[in-house]
């Protein structure tokens, strides 16, 4: 089994783990963590595609590598936004949870004042 395939399978396993964490963890922070794991697994799949195309002169296909770099930056931005939302939720309600009390409650949470 070539090294590319080994790391590709590793990526598939990580993606599966991350997906499981994203779906089952109730806490938003753990979901965000799991999303990052899922993302890194997916990037390893790109890495597999890149390495598999290696020849004598070229160590790997640069196109998937460039895509991964773009995606890493986007994933970081997404994580930053998600964490900002979690912390803001924490500030406003004292808890960080996605399980909703009735969102239609008209008691009026303190809004943006």
């Amino acid at each position: 089994m070539s090294d590319a395939t080994l790391f590709g399978l590793c990526g598939a396993a990580l993606a599966g783990l991350g997906l499981y964490g994203l779906v089952t963890h109730p806490e938003p922070l753990r979901k965000i963590l799991a999303f990052n794991l899922l993302g890194s697994g997916v990037f390893l799949v790109f890495g597999f595609v890149s390495r598999r195309a290696a020849t004598a002169g070229v160590p790997g296909d640069p196109v998937p590598q460039a895509m991964v770099i773009t995606a890493i930056v986007v994933a970081f931005a997404a994580t930053a936004l998600a964490i900002a939302l979690v912390l803001r939720l924490l500030e406003q309600t004292g808890r960080a949870t996605l399980s909703s009390d009735d969102p239609a409650s008209a008691t009026g949470e303190k809004g943006n004042s």
Binding site: D3, A4, L6, G8, L9, C10, A12, L14, A15, G16, L17, G18, L19, G21, V23, T24, H25, P26, E27, L29, R30, I32, L33, N36, L37, S40, V45, F48, S50, R51, A53, A54, T55, G57, V58, D61, P62, V63, Q65, A66, V68, I69, T70, I72, V73, A75, F76, T79, A80, L81, I83, A84, V86, R88, L90, G94, R95, T97, S99, N112
Partner: protein, 313 residues
């Protein structure tokens, strides 16, 4: 089986174990610590995959900046009693089954490789001299698929605006609430005095060398952002207010230069985002320099968070 294969297998085992611990750890804080280690190990994996640019980016952004964000959040959330119940066992079994299915599907797709592996690598290398670059990844990012890179910068700015939008109304255009370390004259202060000059040189070098060697705007920008954050956290400089004109100019400087060069390509070369022959490399380097500044500003501000209302000291 060579030593390298054993080492790779060991690395994969380590990565999988630590990755699994980020999911199955009981406390969020432990999971985040595991994640930071995981990020660093991943960087080594990318080196083994001969993707040095990606390794640099993963170590810097994926491990470093993301880890910092998550640690900060975990610390804030540690004090909160989490009273939600974990998902019930049938749900977890069902989810586990579906995720295993997805992973198996992915694995199957990877194992059943086609006989002839198609790739764009020959085309990339063939056309690289036209761009004057030595780094093929830079060629893809700034020449062949420049549109994606340009728009991704806009995505970064939008995410930053989204983070800023979470400020309370009266704190708008205030100073980000990055937690700073209150005690002066400690190890942190020492580090914040020693590291940034070195870090800035490394960051600039990394941006500069990206045209021919692994590196580039993203990697260099991240290092500069990290140095800036270090200085702010150690209280050697103040975080800028989000309405600061220079900050705003710095944020858009990269995309503006990139877009201008692209539009100039309509006139001077054949198409939008095309480079006039012979001038491709200097233009690309100029774009990378401008982008480094913007990326540094954007990443640092993303890590700093939304503006906070002024607190009593």
């Amino acid at each position: 089986m060579t030593i390298a294969t054993f080492a790779d297998a060991g690395l994969v085992l380590l990565v999988l174990t630590i990755g699994a611990s980020t999911i199955f750890a009981r406390r969020a804080f432990d999971a985040v610590i595991a994640f930071v280690v995981y990020g660093l190990l991943l960087a080594i994996v990318w080196v083994r995959l001969s993707a040095i640019d990606v390794a640099l980016t993963e170590a810097a952004i994926g491990g470093g900046m993301t880890g910092m964000l998550l640690l900060g959040a975990a610390a804030r959330l540690r004090a909160v009693e989490f009273d939600s119940f974990a998902a019930a066992l049938p749900v977890r079994l069902c989810a586990g089954f579906l995720c295993a299915l997805a992973a198996a599907g992915l694995a199957g797709a990877l194992l059943l490789s086609p006989k002839v592996v198609l790739s764009l690598a020959p085309a990339v290398m063939e056309n690289l001299p036209r761009t004057g670059l030595g780094n093929p990844v830079a060629g893809v990012l700034f020449a062949y698929r420049a549109l994606d890179t340009l728009l991704e910068k806009v995505v970064l700015l939008l995410a930053l605006l989204g983070v800023w939008s979470l400020a309370p109304n009266q704190a708008w255009n205030g100073i980000p609430g990055l937690r700073i370390y209150d005690q002066p004259n400690t190890t942190l202060t020492f580090l914040a005095q020693i590291l940034p000059p070195v870090g800035i040189v490394v960051g600039i070098y990394m941006c500069w060398v990206g045209a021919n060697e692994p590196g580039g705007a993203f990697q260099g920008g991240t290092i500069l952002a990290a140095m800036w954050l270090l200085v702010i956290i150690a209280r050697l400089a103040d975080a800028p207010s989000t309405g600061n004109t220079w900050l705003r100019i710095g944020l858009v400087f990269g995309p503006v230069v990139f877009l201008s060069v692209g539009l100039a390509g309509l006139v001077l070369a054949n198409a939008f985002l095309a480079y006039p022959p012979g001038y491709a490399k200097p233009l690309i380097v100029a774009i990378e320099v401008a982008l480094t500044i913007s990326i540094a500003a954007a990443l640092a501000m993303l890590a700093a968070g939304p503006p906070k209302p002024v607190q009593q000291q």
